[in-house]
């Protein structure tokens, strides 16, 4: 179903269905990275101020804290929450190639390899690697078998506007039926002119004065059959 240039990839599960994921691109991930960076720096500043009075023990604790955050902040959040706070903001989620949630092992692998993806500076290696494959994977993603996708989107449940059902003038293929239903579900988000413009693409409605009403009628017929819902 996905078009050739789509960012959707499918994975066939043991249950015989195809799960579809929308891969996230470098921009969203770059911004998420910046947000995470800001969060980490803030944490360092706060810890630094709090422990500054503690002398040698404070210095030791600060260094241990920096070490843990620098290496394990993404490991921890991606395993427990599915994404770092920065990624969460952009609705991103890290999963395995087969759509399953991240394991500790994969989280460790993809994030330890971040060092190399960062080289020579500002994630340039990672960015180039991402642009060279269709799932925007950086090196760490390849080694761990992971991919960053858009998480649960709020599911829309639009109602098809009510209209008196009317069978289409000729039998339609399933693809065409779906096209009409898709249009009906989107009408309330389109301007009137745009609705007309789209509906007139159907050859038999090209000269109709209210083409989208016709399509709504067909849509209702496809959804509910001949009876009015």
């Amino acid at each position: 179903m996905a078009a050739a240039l789509d960012n959707i990839f499918g994975y066939q599960t043991p249950e015989g269905i195809e799960l579809r994921h929308a891969v996230s691109g470098p921009l969203a991930r770059g911004l998420a990275w910046l947000v995470d960076l800001a969060i980490k720096l803030t944490a360092y500043l706060i810890i630094g101020f709090v422990l500054a009075w503690a002398g040698g023990v404070g210095v030791g604790l600060i260094l241990i804290f920096i070490f843990l955050v620098e290496w394990f902040y993404p490991v921890f959040f991606e395993k427990i929450k599915g994404a770092t706070p920065g990624k969460k903001i952009f609705g991103l989620l890290v999963i395995h190639d087969d759509g399953t949630p991240l394991s500790w092992n994969s989280a460790v692998i993809r994030n330890l390899l971040r060092t190399i993806d960062f080289l020579p500076l500002f994630n340039i290696t990672g960015l180039i690697t991402m642009l060279c494959n269709n799932r925007f994977k950086r090196l760490g993603d390849f080694a761990a078998g992971t991919v960053v996708v858009y998480g649960n989107q709020a599911t829309r449940r639009p109602k098809i506007a009510d209209a008196s059902p009317q069978p289409p003038p000729q039998p339609l293929t399933l693809e065409e039926q779906r096209c009409i239903l898709d249009f009906c579900e989107r009408t309330d988000r389109l301007s009137l002119d745009r609705r007309h413009e789209l509906a007139r693409l159907v050859p038999s409605l090209a000269n109709s004065s209210e083409p989208e009403r016709k399509l709504l009628a067909y849509g209702n017929w496809l959804m509910h059959g001949g009876k009015r819902a």
């Binding site: 399953t100 394991s103 239903l181």
Partner: protein
């Protein structure tokens, strides 16, 4: 069946499913997927989703069912955790086994580290100025200052309080374990990064050791480093081996696509580097609280020398028996 009937028939099932799902997604779920009959209702939903797709029901319904399936899939197919939860099993069984499995890589990394270390060490011992060429004037002077009698940083005469010991503990963790992780990560450049870091560290450590083996520094230097030497040096070797494992998968993929070979090698390599990180943690502890303490040098030597055979026994013998 048209879409309205379909939705009407199954809406209650979907609502039930979503309720269970929401409970499972809670921070501390009170139910387990098995007990709640979740797998069965998940499969039923998969079936409904497949029907909705094949009958070309409206995109909104298909999307909604897909969203429900996706969330269920994430709950049902959570992977068993291997590292953190089973730390003890990891230390006693998995880690030494992993080293034995990759014995050749271990020895390769061992040679890449110790050959330059010993060569440069002997050369520097004969030509003490070598250290200045390798580390630079400033750093060489720093090392000398650290280990001269009554030196300020370490050694039995150093003014060490519990305070500064803990500061050094933090520093060793931050610095040394980061080096271990970098040595691992460097392996993804066809092993080159790991080879470089192994040789580089070998040369550097060899030069420092060769230089400081001369009096008056030797009386401070060797007692200080011997205690944690086994854990620290072998951990660097193992980090190197883990990186070489990644590199080898790319160089010689054994009939797989290179990226697939990499993905298969990565978990084993990660086990190696995590084990090395634990060893570096032990080394940091010894280095901070023991190596710099006022214990007599002979005690430090004996414990330092003892570490090597102890680790060798651990690597060769631990975890041989089958898991209970």
């Amino acid at each position: 069946m048209n879409q309205t009937q379909f939705e009407h028939n199954y809406a209650p099932t979907w609502a039930d499913y979503e309720k269970t799902l929401t409970q499972l997604e809670e921070r501390a779920p009170t139910i387990t997927p098995d007990a709640a009959g979740f797998p069965a209702s998940y499969r039923r939903l998969c079936n409904h989703y497949a029907l909705a797709v094949s009958r070309h029901y409206s995109p909104a319904l298909v999307d909604r069912l897909h969203g429900l399936v996706l969330r269920g899939h994430r709950q049902l197919y959570k992977r068993k955790d291997s590292i953190i939860r089973h730390t003890l099993g990891f230390i006693t069984v998995d880690f030494p086994r992993e080293i034995r499995t990759h014995g050749r890589l271990f020895w390769l990394a061992f040679a890449l580290f110790f050959a330059p270390a010993i060569l440069v060490g002997i050369t520097t011992f004969g030509q003490p100025l070598m250290l200045h060429a390798i580390a630079g004037e400033q750093m060489a002077a720093q090392f000398e200052q650290m280990y001269e009698p009554g030196g300020d940083a370490v050694g039995p005469h150093a003014l060490r309080s519990g305070d500064s010991e803990f500061a050094m503990f933090g520093f060793y963790i931050y610095n040394n374990i980061s080096i271990g992780f970098r040595t691992f990560a460097g392996g993804i450049i066809f092993g080159l990064g790991s080879v470089f870091l192994l040789v580089y560290n070998g040369v550097f450590i060899g030069a420092v050791a060769g230089h400081l083996s001369h009096p008056p520094f030797n009386a401070q230097f060797w007692p200080f480093v011997s205690g944690h030497s086994s854990f620290e040096l072998l951990a660097i070797v193992i980090s190197g081996a883990s990186g070489l494992r990644l590199g080898l998968a790319l160089i010689r993929p054994r009939g797989y696509r290179r990226l697939d070979a990499l993905r298969q090698a990565a978990p084993g390599a990660a086990r190696l580097v995590l084990g090395a990180a634990l060893m570096l943690l032990v080394a940091a502890f010894i280095e901070a609280f023991f190596s710099g303490s006022a214990l007599p040098p002979s005690v430090k030597y004996w414990l330092g020398v003892g570490g090597w055979p102890a680790l060798a026994l651990y690597f060769t013998l631990s975890g041989r028996r089958r898991r209970p």
